[in-house]
């Protein structure tokens, strides 16, 4: 009944958001797919779409986490009706005029409906306002481009101006090769923005999802006051393929997973998808000064 009421009274922005979230839910696996059964790419067993949806796209059979779309991620997190996408100052894409890149970009845009690999928004969690950024691995593997760096930086600066907590969900294959040095420099830009935000006393919760590697790991993703990770995610600086090739050795079992990072002291907590909202609410509450109205 409550859900129905929410649906009927939702604003146009909320309706669009919920629709996008539902359509893209498990990224490439379900995008525009009409099949009743979905197959897990890991264990190759099938389950109904209904069961996948109930398990938040964690395989009902083997427990493997499927990548999920950015809007869907936020829909799991935000209070109903609180989503508001930040408008972005558009910047020049393709700074190197890299051959074939412009075509690839427009193809990715058409395929995903996204304009870059980062979505930035504000919303409320348990009534508490936050700024959130989500890197979306469907778009160029969530790689760091000037556009991604700019969006993340704008989100950090917005949180700073509003004095709201900041949550960033990272998922990235590393640098956007086609943007060369401009991609590299985004690491400095985003890290500087986080440092500035932190010096002003802002709370930054960094949430690492599969996969977080390269320049994103070596910048804003590693700088959270609180570091969280999704179970079984690949997290590292150099990718496992590069390390294997360079050293010519087999890598240890479980190397560069969330659990490995937790064991080595780089993650506070591994948070199952089903506990995402609950954990965030707890953390935000713990950072709300006593007596302060939210």
């Amino acid at each position: 009944m409550k859900e129905l009421l929410e649906k009927l009274t939702a604003s146009p922005e909320e309706k669009t958001f919920r629709l996008k979230a539902r359509l893209e839910a498990a990224g490439p696996m379900t995008l525009w797919s009409k099949q009743t059964f979905l197959t897990c790419p890991h264990c190759e067993r099938r389950a109904t779409r209904q069961r996948w949806s109930e398990s938040l796209y964690v395989c009902p059979n083997c427990g493997t986490y499927q990548p999920i779309g950015g809007y869907y991620r936020l829909s799991l997190l935000f209070d109903h009706g609180s989503f508001h996408e930040l408008s972005v100052k558009t910047i020049q894409q393709d700074p190197l005029h890299f051959p074939g890149y412009a075509e690839k970009l427009s193809l990715q845009k058409r395929k995903t409906g996204l304009s870059e690999a980062a979505i930035t928004a504000t919303g409320r969690i348990g009534g508490m306002p936050v700024v959130a950024a989500v890197l979306d691995s469907r778009f160029f593997m969530g790689s760091m481009s000037a556009g991604v760096g700019e969006r993340v930086t704008q989100a950090v600066e917005y949180a700073s101006a509003k004095k709201w907590p900041l949550i960033i969900f990272s998922a990235s294959g590393g640098a956007r090769m086609q943007e060369g040095i401009f991609s590299l420099m985004q690491m400095a830009k985003t890290s500087a923005a986080i440092a500035e935000f932190s010096a002003r006393g802002g709370l930054y919760i960094s949430f690492l999802t599969h996969p977080t590697t390269g320049g994103v790991t070596a910048s804003f993703a590693s700088l959270g006051d609180i570091m969280l990770a999704e179970p079984g995610a690949l997290i590292g600086f150099a990718g496992p393929r590069v390390i294997r090739q360079t050293l010519g050795i087999e890598l240890p079992e479980g190397f560069q997973t969330s659990e490995y990072l937790e064991e080595h002291g780089f993650v506070d907590k591994i948070v199952p998808r089903s506990e995402l909202r609950e954990t965030m609410t707890q953390l935000l509450r713990l950072h709300t000064p006593k007596g302060q109205k939210v």
Partner: protein, 306 residues
């Protein structure tokens, strides 16, 4: 190709040394001098792949030589105070024209034994944490920071990952951006990936004429984009990694000229060019207030790619 020219130059050099001062050899000497200047003149226009070759030349000046030539009273600082000493970063306190500064940079080593000892200039997290420790100290004592960048990249290893390579680089980027002392970075050889940038968040980025600075080595770039590392020459052109490209893109503030044919041919001339550029930029920065230095650095990186 520059490789052939340099080989021929070396051969001429060797021949000249065998010649004695007798008059009948005077003509040969003149010929050698003529061919030499023609060869050197031919090095004026270089392709980006040739610059990559020069940037990695084994005889290219190393950080020890820069410190020796430009600074006095160098006191080396070692260790990250947490885990170990990473020798692929060399740094410490020194005097530059009477002013105490913190100087640090990647150390590659001049021969194979040293290459191995210094891990070819590829730091692990301990190296970056050591660098950060030195920079924090520079902040405390109000010393300018001068960094020399020359690395194939951060080390991709199991231990490095276990001890947080990504976190170490990220922390450096964040902390460097807030330093309130002048920071100058000089890209002297190859600056690849986050491993270079981790000591490169500077107020001024200077770059030697034949140095290169990029998101990844051209080989790595080609292997990621085309799954074929042998296409690296093609990658060099597309990546826009030369000092000239980066100056045009507004990322590098000044190009330091090198002797024709590369820095390794006349180190003395090179050091005096570096000295002039360093002195000019440092004295300009030392006139700024501490707050202006930090906000200027923030703004510099904030505007890249906008």
């Amino acid at each position: 190709m520059i490789q052939d020219r340099l080989r021929r130059l070396q051969a001429l050099e060797n021949e000249q040394q065998t010649l004695s001062g007798t008059p009948d050899e005077a003509q040969r000497r003149a010929e050698i001098a003529e061919e030499r200047s023609a060869l050197v003149a031919g090095c004026a226009e270089l392709s980006s792949a040739e610059r990559v070759f020069l940037a990695r030349h084994p005889k290219r000046p190393k950080i020890e030589e820069y410190i020796e030539a430009l600074f006095t009273d160098f006191f080396e600082q070692k260790g990250d105070r947490q885990c170990k000493e990473d020798a692929s970063i060399l740094g410490g306190i020194a005097c530059y024209k009477g002013v105490p500064v913190t100087v640090l940079g990647h150390r590659k080593g001049a021969n194979l034994a040293d290459n191995m000892k210094y891990n070819f200039g590829m730091p692990g997290p301990e190296g970056y944490r050591k660098a950060l420790r030195m920079m924090h100290q520079a902040e405390k004592f109000g010393r300018p920071v001068i960094t020399f960048i020359d690395t194939p990249g951060a080390y991709p290893g199991v231990e490095a990952e276990a001890r947080g390579q990504g976190e170490a680089i990220a922390r450096n980027l964040a902390e460097m951006s807030r330093l309130t002392v002048p920071v100058i970075s000089i890209v002297t050889g190859e600056g690849n990936s986050g491993g270079a940038l981790a000591i490169g968040v500077a107020n001024r980025i200077l770059m030697l004429e034949n140095a290169v600075y990029s998101v990844l080595s051209p080989e790595g770039f080609a292997s990621i984009l085309w799954k074929d590392a042998s296409r690296h020459a093609e990658a060099c052109d597309l990546m826009r990694l030369t000092a000239q490209d980066l100056y045009q893109a507004g990322i590098v503030d000044e190009i330091i000229p090198e002797p024709l044919g590369g820095a390794q041919l006349d180190k003395k001339a090179l050091f005096s060019c570096v000295d002039i550029a360093l002195e000019k930029n440092l004295s300009a920065l030392r006139r700024q207030t501490r707050a202006a230095l930090a906000s200027g650095r923030y703004k510099k990186f904030r505007e890249i790619g906008c």
